[in-house]
Protein backbone atom coordinates (compact mmCIF):
# COMPACT_ATOMS: atom_id res chain seq x y z
CA UNK A 1 0.00 0.00 0.00
CA UNK A 2 1.06 3.57 -0.58
CA UNK A 3 0.76 6.10 2.25
CA UNK A 4 -1.29 9.13 1.20
CA UNK A 5 0.82 11.37 3.40
CA UNK A 6 4.49 10.42 2.85
CA UNK A 7 3.74 8.59 -0.43
CA UNK A 8 5.94 5.65 0.52
CA UNK A 9 4.97 2.00 0.29
CA UNK A 10 4.26 0.18 3.52
CA UNK A 11 3.24 -3.32 4.57
CA UNK A 12 0.03 -4.38 6.25
CA UNK A 13 1.30 -4.31 9.83
CA UNK A 14 2.52 -0.71 9.40
CA UNK A 15 -0.94 0.48 8.39
CA UNK A 16 -2.20 3.61 10.11
CA UNK A 17 -5.59 4.94 9.18
CA UNK A 18 -8.25 4.47 6.55
CA UNK A 19 -8.66 7.07 3.83
CA UNK A 20 -11.68 8.71 5.43
CA UNK A 21 -9.89 9.31 8.72
CA UNK A 22 -6.83 10.60 6.90
CA UNK A 23 -8.94 13.16 5.06
CA UNK A 24 -10.77 14.18 8.21
CA UNK A 25 -7.47 14.64 10.05
CA UNK A 26 -6.11 16.82 7.25
CA UNK A 27 -9.22 18.97 7.41
CA UNK A 28 -8.94 19.27 11.19
CA UNK A 29 -5.32 20.34 10.85
CA UNK A 30 -6.27 23.03 8.36
CA UNK A 31 -9.00 24.28 10.67
CA UNK A 32 -6.64 24.41 13.64
CA UNK A 33 -4.10 26.33 11.59
CA UNK A 34 -6.78 28.82 10.55
CA UNK A 35 -7.77 29.26 14.20
CA UNK A 36 -4.14 29.91 15.13
CA UNK A 37 -3.85 32.53 12.40
CA UNK A 38 -7.01 34.26 13.66
CA UNK A 39 -5.82 34.18 17.26
CA UNK A 40 -2.43 35.62 16.31
CA UNK A 41 -4.15 38.50 14.52
CA UNK A 42 -6.29 39.06 17.61
CA UNK A 43 -3.20 39.13 19.85
CA UNK A 44 -1.60 41.67 17.52
CA UNK A 45 -4.72 43.82 17.63
CA UNK A 46 -4.92 43.71 21.43
CA UNK A 47 -1.26 44.25 22.25
CA UNK A 48 0.35 47.61 22.96
CA UNK A 49 3.80 48.92 22.45
CA UNK A 50 4.94 50.05 25.85
CA UNK A 51 5.83 53.75 26.09
CA UNK A 52 9.53 52.90 26.44
CA UNK A 53 9.75 50.45 23.57
CA UNK A 54 11.63 52.86 21.32
CA UNK A 55 12.93 49.95 19.33
CA UNK A 56 9.73 49.39 17.42
CA UNK A 57 8.47 52.93 17.65
CA UNK A 58 7.26 54.41 14.39
CA UNK A 59 8.54 51.39 12.50
CA UNK A 60 5.26 49.50 12.14
CA UNK A 61 2.27 50.93 10.36
CA UNK A 62 0.03 50.52 13.37
CA UNK A 63 -1.00 53.00 15.99
CA UNK A 64 0.76 52.91 19.28
CA UNK A 65 -1.18 54.96 21.74
CA UNK A 66 1.93 55.17 23.82
CA UNK A 67 1.16 58.78 24.63
CA UNK A 68 -1.15 59.84 27.46
CA UNK A 69 0.91 58.14 30.16
CA UNK A 70 -0.26 59.08 33.64
CA UNK A 71 2.04 57.21 36.03
CA UNK A 72 5.73 56.38 36.47
CA UNK A 73 7.38 53.23 37.75
CA UNK A 74 10.81 53.55 39.32
CA UNK A 75 13.22 50.68 39.94
CA UNK A 76 14.90 50.72 43.33
CA UNK A 77 18.21 49.75 41.77
CA UNK A 78 20.50 51.79 39.55
CA UNK A 79 19.62 53.10 36.12
CA UNK A 80 21.14 51.97 32.81
CA UNK A 81 24.51 53.73 33.33
CA UNK A 82 24.82 53.13 37.04
CA UNK A 83 23.18 56.50 37.70
CA UNK A 84 19.86 57.06 39.44
CA UNK A 85 17.07 54.98 37.95
CA UNK A 86 15.10 56.53 35.08
CA UNK A 87 11.32 56.52 35.66
CA UNK A 88 9.43 54.20 33.31
CA UNK A 89 6.24 55.87 32.04
CA UNK A 90 3.01 53.86 31.91
CA UNK A 91 -0.79 54.05 31.91
CA UNK A 92 -2.79 53.52 35.10
CA UNK A 93 -5.57 51.79 33.15
CA UNK A 94 -3.20 49.22 31.69
CA UNK A 95 -1.35 48.50 34.92
CA UNK A 96 -4.66 48.12 36.75
CA UNK A 97 -6.00 45.79 34.07
CA UNK A 98 -2.99 43.49 34.25
CA UNK A 99 -2.46 43.35 38.02
CA UNK A 100 -4.96 43.40 40.90
CA UNK A 101 -2.16 44.74 43.12
CA UNK A 102 -1.60 47.77 40.89
CA UNK A 103 -5.36 48.12 40.61
CA UNK A 104 -5.82 48.33 44.41
CA UNK A 105 -2.83 50.66 44.70
CA UNK A 106 -4.10 53.05 42.07
CA UNK A 107 -7.82 52.97 42.68
CA UNK A 108 -7.64 53.47 46.42
CA UNK A 109 -5.92 56.84 46.49
CA UNK A 110 -2.82 55.44 48.08
CA UNK A 111 0.53 57.21 48.17
CA UNK A 112 1.44 55.82 44.71
CA UNK A 113 -1.75 57.13 43.16
CA UNK A 114 -1.36 60.62 44.60
CA UNK A 115 2.33 60.99 43.78
CA UNK A 116 2.00 59.39 40.35
CA UNK A 117 5.05 57.20 41.04
CA UNK A 118 5.23 53.52 41.94
CA UNK A 119 8.51 52.36 43.43
CA UNK A 120 9.43 48.78 42.58
CA UNK A 121 11.95 47.29 44.97
CA UNK A 122 14.58 44.62 44.24
CA UNK A 123 14.58 45.07 40.52
CA UNK A 124 16.98 46.53 37.96
CA UNK A 125 15.96 49.24 35.53
CA UNK A 126 16.30 46.85 32.59
CA UNK A 127 14.16 44.18 34.22
CA UNK A 128 11.50 46.73 35.14
CA UNK A 129 11.38 48.07 31.59
CA UNK A 130 11.05 44.54 30.22
CA UNK A 131 8.34 43.81 32.82
CA UNK A 132 6.31 46.88 31.81
CA UNK A 133 6.81 45.97 28.18
CA UNK A 134 5.42 42.52 28.95
CA UNK A 135 2.36 43.98 30.64
CA UNK A 136 1.67 45.92 27.45
CA UNK A 137 2.33 43.26 24.86
CA UNK A 138 2.55 39.82 26.53
CA UNK A 139 5.89 39.49 24.77
CA UNK A 140 9.27 38.87 26.36
CA UNK A 141 12.64 37.46 25.41
CA UNK A 142 13.24 35.13 28.36
CA UNK A 143 16.48 33.67 29.59
CA UNK A 144 16.78 31.94 32.94
CA UNK A 145 17.75 35.07 34.84
CA UNK A 146 15.00 37.23 33.38
CA UNK A 147 12.47 34.44 33.93
CA UNK A 148 13.43 34.40 37.63
CA UNK A 149 13.20 38.18 37.95
CA UNK A 150 9.86 38.18 36.16
CA UNK A 151 8.52 35.36 38.31
CA UNK A 152 9.31 37.36 41.45
CA UNK A 153 7.55 40.44 40.02
CA UNK A 154 4.63 38.36 38.73
CA UNK A 155 4.16 36.80 42.17
CA UNK A 156 4.38 40.17 43.92
CA UNK A 157 1.96 41.93 41.57
CA UNK A 158 -0.22 38.87 40.98
CA UNK A 159 0.20 38.77 37.24
CA UNK A 160 -0.92 35.14 37.05
CA UNK A 161 -0.46 34.77 33.33
CA UNK A 162 3.17 35.92 33.44
CA UNK A 163 3.92 33.72 36.44
CA UNK A 164 2.65 30.63 34.64
CA UNK A 165 4.67 31.62 31.57
CA UNK A 166 7.90 31.95 33.59
CA UNK A 167 7.29 28.69 35.43
CA UNK A 168 6.81 26.82 32.17
CA UNK A 169 10.02 28.33 30.82
CA UNK A 170 12.02 27.44 33.95
CA UNK A 171 10.61 23.89 33.95
CA UNK A 172 11.81 23.52 30.34
CA UNK A 173 15.33 24.47 31.49
CA UNK A 174 15.41 22.10 34.49
CA UNK A 175 18.07 19.42 34.79
CA UNK A 176 19.45 17.47 37.72
CA UNK A 177 22.30 19.94 37.99
CA UNK A 178 20.10 23.01 38.66
CA UNK A 179 17.25 21.14 40.35
CA UNK A 180 18.13 22.13 43.95
CA UNK A 181 18.58 25.84 43.17
CA UNK A 182 15.26 25.82 41.37
CA UNK A 183 13.58 23.89 44.17
CA UNK A 184 14.66 26.54 46.71
CA UNK A 185 13.63 29.37 44.39
CA UNK A 186 10.23 27.80 43.68
CA UNK A 187 9.66 27.38 47.40
CA UNK A 188 10.46 31.02 48.11
CA UNK A 189 8.11 32.31 45.44
CA UNK A 190 5.25 29.91 45.69
CA UNK A 191 5.80 28.42 42.24
CA UNK A 192 4.01 25.10 42.49
CA UNK A 193 4.57 23.81 38.97
CA UNK A 194 8.31 24.45 39.15
CA UNK A 195 8.48 23.06 42.69
CA UNK A 196 6.96 19.75 41.67
CA UNK A 197 9.09 19.40 38.56
CA UNK A 198 12.29 20.18 40.49
CA UNK A 199 11.35 17.81 43.32
CA UNK A 200 10.71 14.99 40.90
CA UNK A 201 14.15 15.52 39.32
CA UNK A 202 15.80 15.65 42.74
CA UNK A 203 14.17 12.38 43.77
CA UNK A 204 15.36 10.71 40.58
CA UNK A 205 18.94 11.86 41.17
CA UNK A 206 19.34 11.65 44.94
CA UNK A 207 22.46 9.46 44.72
CA UNK A 208 24.36 11.93 42.55
CA UNK A 209 23.10 15.02 44.33
CA UNK A 210 23.97 13.87 47.84
CA UNK A 211 27.64 13.53 46.90
CA UNK A 212 27.97 17.19 45.94
CA UNK A 213 29.44 20.03 47.99
CA UNK A 214 26.36 22.09 47.11
CA UNK A 215 24.17 19.57 48.90
CA UNK A 216 25.72 20.05 52.32
CA UNK A 217 25.35 23.82 51.91
CA UNK A 218 21.73 23.20 51.02
CA UNK A 219 21.22 21.18 54.23
CA UNK A 220 22.80 23.94 56.27
CA UNK A 221 20.78 26.78 54.74
CA UNK A 222 17.42 25.10 54.21
CA UNK A 223 17.10 22.18 56.61
CA UNK A 224 13.28 22.24 56.50
CA UNK A 225 13.34 21.91 52.71
CA UNK A 226 15.69 18.94 52.99
CA UNK A 227 13.28 17.32 55.42
CA UNK A 228 10.50 17.82 52.88
CA UNK A 229 12.60 16.18 50.19
CA UNK A 230 13.33 13.16 52.41
CA UNK A 231 9.67 12.83 53.24
CA UNK A 232 8.77 12.92 49.55
CA UNK A 233 11.52 10.37 48.94
CA UNK A 234 10.14 8.00 51.56
CA UNK A 235 6.57 8.46 50.28
CA UNK A 236 7.78 7.61 46.78
CA UNK A 237 9.57 4.48 47.97
CA UNK A 238 6.45 3.34 49.81
CA UNK A 239 4.29 4.00 46.77
CA UNK A 240 6.52 2.05 44.43
CA UNK A 241 6.91 -0.71 47.02
CA UNK A 242 3.21 -1.05 47.82
CA UNK A 243 1.92 -2.52 44.54
CA UNK A 244 4.70 -5.12 44.54
CA UNK A 245 3.66 -6.12 48.04
CA UNK A 246 0.01 -6.69 47.15
CA UNK A 247 0.86 -8.53 43.98
CA UNK A 248 3.11 -10.83 46.01
CA UNK A 249 0.26 -11.59 48.41
CA UNK A 250 -2.41 -12.26 45.79
Amino acid sequence: MCCLSCEEDYVRRDAGTCKECYEEASETEEELKREIKDLKAKVEFLSFLSPTDHHHHHSSGRSHGSGFTDIFLVAAEDGPDGGPSVPVPAHRAILANRSPVFEAMLENEMEESRSGTIKISDVSYDALRAFVNYLYSAEACLDEQIACEFLVLAEKYQVKYLKAYCEKFLVSKLNWDNSIVNYVFAHQHNAKLLLEAALSLILDNMDKLRKRQEYSEFIEKHPTLVVEIYEACLAKQENTAAPKDTSAKS
Copy 2:
Protein backbone atom coordinates in the same frame (compact mmCIF):
# COMPACT_ATOMS: atom_id res chain seq x y z
CA MET B 1 -6.83 -3.84 8.13
CA CYS B 2 -8.05 -1.92 11.14
CA CYS B 3 -7.93 1.89 11.17
CA LEU B 4 -5.99 3.18 14.16
CA SER B 5 -8.22 6.23 14.33
CA CYS B 6 -11.85 5.04 13.92
CA GLU B 7 -10.93 1.42 14.75
CA GLU B 8 -13.03 0.07 11.90
CA ASP B 9 -11.91 -2.48 9.35
CA TYR B 10 -11.18 -1.26 5.87
CA VAL B 11 -10.05 -2.75 2.58
CA ARG B 12 -6.82 -2.08 0.73
CA ARG B 13 -8.16 0.58 -1.63
CA ASP B 14 -9.53 2.59 1.31
CA ALA B 15 -6.10 2.79 2.93
CA GLY B 16 -5.02 6.21 4.12
CA THR B 17 -1.66 6.53 5.80
CA CYS B 18 1.07 4.38 7.27
CA LYS B 19 1.42 4.10 11.02
CA GLU B 20 4.32 6.52 11.24
CA CYS B 21 2.45 9.29 9.45
CA TYR B 22 -0.62 8.66 11.57
CA GLU B 23 1.41 9.07 14.75
CA GLU B 24 3.11 12.19 13.46
CA ALA B 25 -0.22 13.71 12.49
CA SER B 26 -1.62 13.00 15.96
CA GLU B 27 1.37 14.71 17.52
CA THR B 28 1.01 17.72 15.24
CA GLU B 29 -2.66 17.98 16.19
CA GLU B 30 -1.79 17.94 19.88
CA GLU B 31 0.83 20.64 19.35
CA LEU B 32 -1.58 22.84 17.42
CA LYS B 33 -4.17 22.44 20.17
CA ARG B 34 -1.59 23.44 22.78
CA GLU B 35 -0.69 26.50 20.74
CA ILE B 36 -4.38 27.45 20.53
CA LYS B 37 -4.73 27.10 24.29
CA ASP B 38 -1.68 29.34 24.85
CA LEU B 39 -2.94 31.94 22.38
CA LYS B 40 -6.37 32.00 24.01
CA ALA B 41 -4.75 32.63 27.39
CA LYS B 42 -2.72 35.44 25.82
CA VAL B 43 -5.85 37.01 24.35
CA GLU B 44 -7.51 36.84 27.76
CA PHE B 45 -4.50 38.49 29.37
CA LEU B 46 -4.39 41.28 26.80
CA SER B 47 -8.08 42.08 26.60
CA PHE B 48 -9.85 44.74 28.61
CA LEU B 49 -13.36 45.03 29.87
CA SER B 50 -14.65 48.25 28.46
CA PRO B 51 -15.73 50.81 31.07
CA THR B 52 -19.39 50.33 30.13
CA ASP B 53 -19.41 46.55 30.14
CA HIS B 54 -21.39 46.35 33.39
CA HIS B 55 -22.47 42.86 32.50
CA HIS B 56 -19.21 41.20 33.40
CA HIS B 57 -18.11 43.74 35.94
CA HIS B 58 -16.97 42.33 39.25
CA SER B 59 -17.99 38.86 38.14
CA SER B 60 -14.60 37.53 37.06
CA GLY B 61 -11.65 37.26 39.40
CA ARG B 62 -9.45 39.38 37.17
CA SER B 63 -8.62 43.04 37.38
CA HIS B 64 -10.43 45.39 35.09
CA GLY B 65 -8.66 48.68 35.08
CA SER B 66 -11.83 50.22 33.77
CA GLY B 67 -11.28 53.26 35.96
CA PHE B 68 -9.08 56.19 34.93
CA THR B 69 -11.13 57.00 31.84
CA ASP B 70 -10.09 60.31 30.28
CA ILE B 71 -12.34 60.75 27.24
CA PHE B 72 -15.99 60.38 26.24
CA LEU B 73 -17.52 59.19 22.99
CA VAL B 74 -21.00 60.42 22.11
CA ALA B 75 -23.27 58.90 19.50
CA ALA B 76 -25.02 61.39 17.24
CA GLU B 77 -28.24 59.40 17.44
CA ASP B 78 -30.60 58.96 20.37
CA GLY B 79 -29.74 57.28 23.66
CA PRO B 80 -31.09 53.95 24.91
CA ASP B 81 -34.57 55.29 25.83
CA GLY B 82 -34.90 57.69 22.93
CA GLY B 83 -33.48 60.51 25.06
CA PRO B 84 -30.21 62.32 24.44
CA SER B 85 -27.27 59.97 23.94
CA VAL B 86 -25.33 58.95 27.04
CA PRO B 87 -21.57 59.57 26.74
CA VAL B 88 -19.52 56.36 26.59
CA PRO B 89 -16.38 56.67 28.76
CA ALA B 90 -13.05 55.41 27.41
CA HIS B 91 -9.26 55.74 27.63
CA ARG B 92 -7.32 57.90 25.19
CA ALA B 93 -4.41 55.44 25.24
CA ILE B 94 -6.61 52.52 24.20
CA LEU B 95 -8.51 54.41 21.49
CA ALA B 96 -5.22 55.70 20.07
CA ASN B 97 -3.70 52.22 20.12
CA ARG B 98 -6.57 50.69 18.18
CA SER B 99 -7.18 53.41 15.61
CA PRO B 100 -4.75 55.75 13.81
CA VAL B 101 -7.66 58.16 13.30
CA PHE B 102 -8.34 58.43 17.03
CA GLU B 103 -4.59 58.65 17.56
CA ALA B 104 -4.23 61.67 15.26
CA MET B 105 -7.34 63.26 16.74
CA LEU B 106 -6.13 62.91 20.32
CA GLU B 107 -2.42 63.53 19.95
CA ASN B 108 -2.71 66.65 17.86
CA GLU B 109 -4.62 68.80 20.32
CA MET B 110 -7.69 68.91 18.14
CA GLU B 111 -11.12 69.99 19.34
CA GLU B 112 -11.87 66.44 20.53
CA SER B 113 -8.72 66.28 22.61
CA ARG B 114 -9.32 69.63 24.30
CA SER B 115 -13.00 69.07 25.04
CA GLY B 116 -12.53 65.44 26.06
CA THR B 117 -15.48 64.40 23.90
CA ILE B 118 -15.48 62.66 20.53
CA LYS B 119 -18.73 62.86 18.58
CA ILE B 120 -19.46 59.84 16.41
CA SER B 121 -21.95 60.54 13.64
CA ASP B 122 -24.43 58.12 12.05
CA VAL B 123 -24.36 55.58 14.82
CA SER B 124 -26.78 54.50 17.52
CA TYR B 125 -25.83 54.50 21.20
CA ASP B 126 -25.98 50.69 21.33
CA ALA B 127 -23.74 50.26 18.30
CA LEU B 128 -21.25 52.78 19.69
CA ARG B 129 -21.11 50.97 23.03
CA ALA B 130 -20.57 47.65 21.28
CA PHE B 131 -17.89 49.27 19.09
CA VAL B 132 -16.01 50.63 22.12
CA ASN B 133 -16.37 47.26 23.80
CA TYR B 134 -14.81 45.65 20.73
CA LEU B 135 -11.87 48.04 20.78
CA TYR B 136 -11.21 46.93 24.37
CA SER B 137 -11.68 43.21 24.05
CA ALA B 138 -11.77 42.21 20.35
CA GLU B 139 -15.05 40.49 21.19
CA ALA B 140 -18.43 41.11 19.59
CA CYS B 141 -21.68 39.32 19.06
CA LEU B 142 -22.23 39.98 15.37
CA ASP B 143 -25.40 39.79 13.37
CA GLU B 144 -25.69 41.15 9.85
CA GLN B 145 -26.87 44.58 10.94
CA ILE B 146 -24.20 45.04 13.60
CA ALA B 147 -21.53 43.76 11.21
CA CYS B 148 -22.57 46.46 8.71
CA GLU B 149 -22.57 49.19 11.36
CA PHE B 150 -19.17 48.01 12.62
CA LEU B 151 -17.74 47.86 9.13
CA VAL B 152 -18.70 51.49 8.55
CA LEU B 153 -17.07 52.52 11.85
CA ALA B 154 -14.02 50.33 11.21
CA GLU B 155 -13.54 51.93 7.79
CA LYS B 156 -13.99 55.44 9.17
CA TYR B 157 -11.59 54.96 12.10
CA GLN B 158 -9.25 52.62 10.21
CA VAL B 159 -9.59 49.69 12.59
CA LYS B 160 -8.28 47.23 10.00
CA TYR B 161 -8.65 44.15 12.15
CA LEU B 162 -12.33 44.82 12.86
CA LYS B 163 -13.01 45.61 9.23
CA ALA B 164 -11.55 42.28 8.12
CA TYR B 165 -13.55 40.52 10.83
CA CYS B 166 -16.84 42.09 9.66
CA GLU B 167 -16.10 41.38 6.01
CA LYS B 168 -15.45 37.72 6.77
CA PHE B 169 -18.72 37.54 8.70
CA LEU B 170 -20.72 39.20 5.92
CA VAL B 171 -19.13 36.95 3.30
CA SER B 172 -20.25 33.93 5.35
CA LYS B 173 -23.84 35.25 5.22
CA LEU B 174 -23.84 35.96 1.47
CA ASN B 175 -26.36 34.31 -0.83
CA TRP B 176 -27.71 35.18 -4.26
CA ASP B 177 -30.69 36.86 -2.64
CA ASN B 178 -28.65 39.47 -0.72
CA SER B 179 -25.75 39.65 -3.16
CA ILE B 180 -26.74 42.96 -4.80
CA VAL B 181 -27.36 44.78 -1.51
CA ASN B 182 -24.00 43.58 -0.26
CA TYR B 183 -22.29 44.52 -3.50
CA VAL B 184 -23.55 48.10 -3.20
CA PHE B 185 -22.62 48.25 0.49
CA ALA B 186 -19.13 46.85 -0.14
CA HIS B 187 -18.61 49.42 -2.89
CA GLN B 188 -19.62 52.30 -0.63
CA HIS B 189 -17.29 51.25 2.16
CA ASN B 190 -14.31 50.00 0.26
CA ALA B 191 -14.71 46.39 1.40
CA LYS B 192 -12.76 44.50 -1.21
CA LEU B 193 -13.19 40.98 0.11
CA LEU B 194 -16.96 41.37 0.37
CA LEU B 195 -17.11 43.10 -3.00
CA GLU B 196 -15.42 40.23 -4.78
CA ALA B 197 -17.46 37.55 -3.07
CA ALA B 198 -20.72 39.36 -3.83
CA LEU B 199 -19.71 39.98 -7.45
CA SER B 200 -18.90 36.34 -7.97
CA LEU B 201 -22.33 35.34 -6.61
CA ILE B 202 -24.05 37.92 -8.81
CA LEU B 203 -22.27 36.64 -11.91
CA ASP B 204 -23.31 33.07 -11.10
CA ASN B 205 -26.95 34.10 -10.73
CA MET B 206 -27.41 36.80 -13.36
CA ASP B 207 -30.41 35.02 -14.95
CA LYS B 208 -32.38 34.93 -11.71
CA LEU B 209 -31.33 38.37 -10.52
CA ARG B 210 -32.22 40.21 -13.73
CA LYS B 211 -35.83 39.09 -13.44
CA ARG B 212 -36.33 40.76 -10.07
CA GLN B 213 -37.98 44.10 -9.31
CA GLU B 214 -34.99 44.93 -7.11
CA TYR B 215 -32.72 44.72 -10.13
CA SER B 216 -34.35 47.55 -12.04
CA GLU B 217 -34.15 49.74 -8.93
CA PHE B 218 -30.50 48.83 -8.72
CA ILE B 219 -29.94 49.95 -12.33
CA GLU B 220 -31.71 53.21 -11.63
CA LYS B 221 -29.80 54.01 -8.45
CA HIS B 222 -26.36 52.69 -9.27
CA PRO B 223 -25.91 52.59 -13.04
CA THR B 224 -22.10 52.71 -12.82
CA LEU B 225 -22.09 49.65 -10.58
CA VAL B 226 -24.28 47.80 -13.07
CA VAL B 227 -21.81 48.68 -15.80
CA GLU B 228 -19.02 47.21 -13.68
CA ILE B 229 -21.00 44.01 -13.22
CA TYR B 230 -21.61 43.66 -16.97
CA GLU B 231 -17.95 44.26 -17.66
CA ALA B 232 -16.99 41.57 -15.13
CA CYS B 233 -19.59 39.31 -16.73
CA LEU B 234 -18.10 39.78 -20.18
CA ALA B 235 -14.54 39.29 -18.89
CA LYS B 236 -15.65 36.05 -17.24
CA GLN B 237 -17.27 34.80 -20.43
CA GLU B 238 -14.12 35.54 -22.39
CA ASN B 239 -11.97 33.79 -19.79
CA THR B 240 -14.08 30.65 -19.74
CA ALA B 241 -14.36 30.72 -23.53
CA ALA B 242 -10.63 31.17 -24.13
CA PRO B 243 -9.30 27.80 -22.88
CA LYS B 244 -12.03 25.92 -24.82
CA ASP B 245 -10.97 27.76 -27.92
CA THR B 246 -7.31 26.80 -27.61
CA SER B 247 -8.14 23.18 -26.84
CA ALA B 248 -10.30 23.07 -29.94
CA LYS B 249 -7.41 24.33 -32.03
CA SER B 250 -4.78 21.97 -30.68
